[in-house]
Symmetry: D2
Subunit: 336 residues, 4 copies
């Protein structure tokens, strides 16, 4: 049994994480934190009524470490890196949902997040928590940068094609469609029901912070410099799910089956990645840690389509997958 603290427990990723961990035979949630909301968990999230006898608390790093071997941080960027070093010193293992440890350089972080990084010396040494690509780095570490939701959906279909040199790294267009839960639980005009419902829109065109994260993994997987990535997220009228349609340029003539074969070979032993023939819908993976991927060849382009649940494979499911790896549990525990 591993004791667990969840920092920033008021939001949707924390809620989803709690629900998954309540099914985990080896996990015991012992602390939930919030700086402002210290009500019982079942009041903060009515769906937890009677299922978890804990209140949210405003705890110090020492208090957290005295209660938990593993800490999941759902804090916003920079807030996470302000507390993570101390937690590591106390001997906790940490899965960080924020963007703080995803980028390799403080320079890149500061350019995109427009704020100084609180813990820059760790950057470049923290494994990126996508087990399907970086499992070896994850096992045996004590801090994991849990991937962004868009990057997870964009990277998984593209990396195999990049690794075998099938597509040009510098001419990739990524058009993603996400459910509204990705925007968080803080009341804002733009995420009101009556603003989002019956409407789809692009946002953060050319400026979304997941762009450098995607570019970095592309660069790593084909050992090039940071490529130009065109990434356009869209706000879609649904709670959860990300569908990513990516347009890449093959370096030679290929067929659909050629592309699917590369994908299948890469993921043949990966339980959570399904390479499929049909065009996947986000509903096919809703509420699960699965990724469905397919590909088509149209004219001079490869079109890959991938579907994930942004709150699970795109956040809390991936985090539990990482947790399982960190603590030696079967990787799929609580995720089937």
């Amino acid at each position: 049994m591993t004791t667990i603290a969840i920092l920033g427990a008021t939001g949707y990723t924390a809620l989803e994480l709690i629900k998954i961990l309540l099914r985990h035979p080896n996990a015991e949630i012992t602390a939930l934190t919030s700086r402002e909301d210290t009500r019982p968990a079942g009041q903060v999230h009515q769906s937890l009524s009677g299922r978890l006898n804990l209140s949210l608390e405003n705890l110090t790093p020492g208090e957290i470490a005295s209660r938990a071997e593993c800490v999941f941080s759902c804090l916003p960027h920079t807030a996470s890196a302000q507390i993570v070093p101390e937690l590591l010193q106390y001997g906790c293992k940490v899965v960080d949902f924020s963007a703080d440890y995803r980028l390799d350089s403080a320079e890149s972080f500061e350019k995109w997040y427009e704020v100084e990084h609180p813990d820059p010396q760790r950057l470049g040494k923290v494994p990126y928590g996508l087990p399907e690509l970086f499992r070896k780095d994850i096992i045996g570490t004590d801090l994991i940068a849990n991937p962004g939701c868009y990057p997870t959906s964009a990277i998984l279909p593209l990396v195999p094609l990049l690794e075998v040199g099938l597509i040009e790294p510098n001419d990739i267009i990524i058009d993603s469609k996400s459910g509204v839960s990705g925007a968080g639980r803080k009341p804002k005009l733009g995420t009101l029901y009556t603003e989002c419902n019956e409407s789809i829109s692009a946002y953060g065109v050319g400026t979304h912070r997941h762009t450098p994260e995607i570019a970095q993994i592309i660069a790593r997987s084909c050992k090039t410099q940071m490529p130009q990535v065109i990434f356009t997220p869209h706000l879609t009228p649904m709670d959860r799910g990300i569908l990513t349609t990516a347009y890449s340029k093959p370096v030679k003539n290929v067929s659909k089956d050629d592309v699917l074969d590369v994908l299948r070979k890469k993921y043949e032993n990966e339980y959570f990645v399904k390479v499929v023939e049909y065009l996947p819908a986000t509903k096919d993976v809703s509420g699960t840690n699965f990724v469905h991927i397919t590909a088509r060849v149209v004219g001079s382009r490869i079109i890959t389509v991938s579907a994930i649940d942004n709150l699970i494979k795109g956040a809390s499911g991936a985090a539990v997958q990482n947790f399982n790896l960190l603590f030696g549990y079967a990787e799929t525990t609580a995720l089937v």
Copy 2:
């Protein structure tokens, strides 16, 4: 041509009102007010881009009156009654969307709204702006209390049955389901997309402020004292629409056709009220000023079902209907 000011122009009812008035051949919008948001109308409401060359302004009653013959007030309760008397003095006609002039007594207002009424001496003298029931009172007046959305949907099917003495006024149960736009455009946790979507819930059980408004019209239509009304509103995952299912007790044995006949007779000359055989859906009237009503008899109860668009017949459409009556235009102008 009548010049028009709209007070409190940032919300959904104001937006809907503007859209209707842009189609009105005899209306010219000359002022939009807001105390805080003074951007161009097309920025406050992107759907007005390039359609209305006005910015919102923080105007005094005198300034408003100097620009407009008719004022639609979309201000919140008490804010409206603080400015209406002065507008009337300046000679404006006013259609008030707030609850301020709907109840007949300051006592009732203060009980339900828990605040002192700013203009109590007018209460009881302002016509209730449901033309299908009170057209005569509306014509020739200068101030109209535009009805609440729930009361409109609840009252229209019940009043004809009460007027002919077919049902008991003291044993009526009203179960209403409303789209989220009824909750306004101010960011709140409870109206976030991810809270409302894929979910229905009751709220304000026994405490909703439309209850006394419904009771008052019931009392008036059968000349009794204020009856007990059981009214339960529900928040439904859709933008707009109210469906009201009301359970009433007939005083004698009746058939479905008996009930439908009473309804048909009452509304046979009303363009906007359709008494139908089928069970209406809110989509049948969405985007229109129509009301669809039907009835069934089940065991010892009459069940009436009515559907309206809460933003149109339940607010801005009714307001324009009243405006047409006030200024002598054909009642359906801009509403077909």
Copy 3:
């Protein structure tokens, strides 16, 4: 390990059942049937891709029995009772999702379903699979009538009040709102996205077949004759969830707390029933086997509100709960 067959595996309840059973440590799905669709499970339901290596098959009762100790029948009414007797003879235990064994008399069945019952002699002897009320009857039997979704949501809050004699059994009004998945997966105009979305409507007013099922349990719980039940279902624009708002008449003056106390006492040891203070939303229980119940007293009425997930507590979750009881597994297995 118990081997399992699922009959009629193309629909939503079967899909949900499969997903739950894939998490069950003691269940192995060995057969899926359909008369018409014999594709692999992962093609019939894309969300099962790569998770279940079975195709649907058109099997005889003997073939089914040779493969499975427990049979879940998701067949339509009368189709189920045509095959159940033979399955029982072969020694299978059966959980029947259809209405075939829910009513106590063939007369009542034939009145509401307008068709002759294929297995009338069993009626009245099959336990109604609501463990919170009839657990003793369920354990040790071989056939269970899995309850209807609406009855589950309606009965659970009312039965405790009826059992203690707090409300009149003959004056109950039940207003229910269900997601569209309750209407099944067969293409029909009325359940197209563009017909249901942004719309709520009543249907089956006075004629819905769950009415006698509710009445029967009410009669049983207060040992009266079949009462009149006014039951109005509504089609709500959401995938899943039922919210039931029920209006009942107390026989004496009661407070909200009196009513909540009766409910709490009845369900204090029931894991899946949560008596709550707040007004529950269907989202609070979405994807779970939980029921959230609360109550209010308004004027001369008690208003109870209950929320379930129609596909889980209203169908497949309850079925697995029954399965666990039948085969001696912990009742909550695979359901947390």
Copy 4:
């Protein structure tokens, strides 16, 4: 006053067309046709209850022509071209919603639609009914090919850039997201509420029949051969709306303002096309004939985003706009 027949009046575009024409001061609907459904209009479409005293009829071309000066054909492809020639002979003017007269060659039609064209000699001579681009051709003709919904949203932002030679015609990627109403009103598994809701998916990748229509207009606007167009439509969980995000390659360095200036100049006198600074949402134009367009420059790509209501500017609104041009009414009549 112009008399009007609508062929194939059971679907969503016909319904929307009827609603618009009911507001048109110079249009009188005199015939609605269907081969199978001959119920009153208010039963086929409940939202028309009491608004239009016509039943659908199975009429011959002669009967249609005897009743109507203008015919809107909402028939499927090939069904339309089987009847249009005769209607033209009778002297009717025709606005054809089908794809039958959109493509310039029978060869292209037969390749994409996999069926012989019933009226091939007219191809290449029928104006494409996008008044913003082809107004001159429309005025004075007797048959108009009303554009496809996707092409309208894709073409309007791209054509101005192509006309001034700013982008390469052969490297355009069009990623479109449409509401479900575009899929029609015929019951199919794929358009059931419970299949589409809470889900987004790509479909028809590389094979959608609107591709050659887009390519043809691109070719025409920059006087090149038919270019390669990568077009990916997505089914989005909403009733109506199309958002098109198009990625094109500028032939030289440009800024966002350069691109917006080209668009503004092209459309400065077009009432229905608004070139905006913000990223438009489909909701901004929902229920209207407006198009909102913006552009961004990201890396080596221009990203244009356009929003329309697929049933109005993408179908019935455009059709009425064309009707107004054909019969000499003000182009915006009934469309504000």
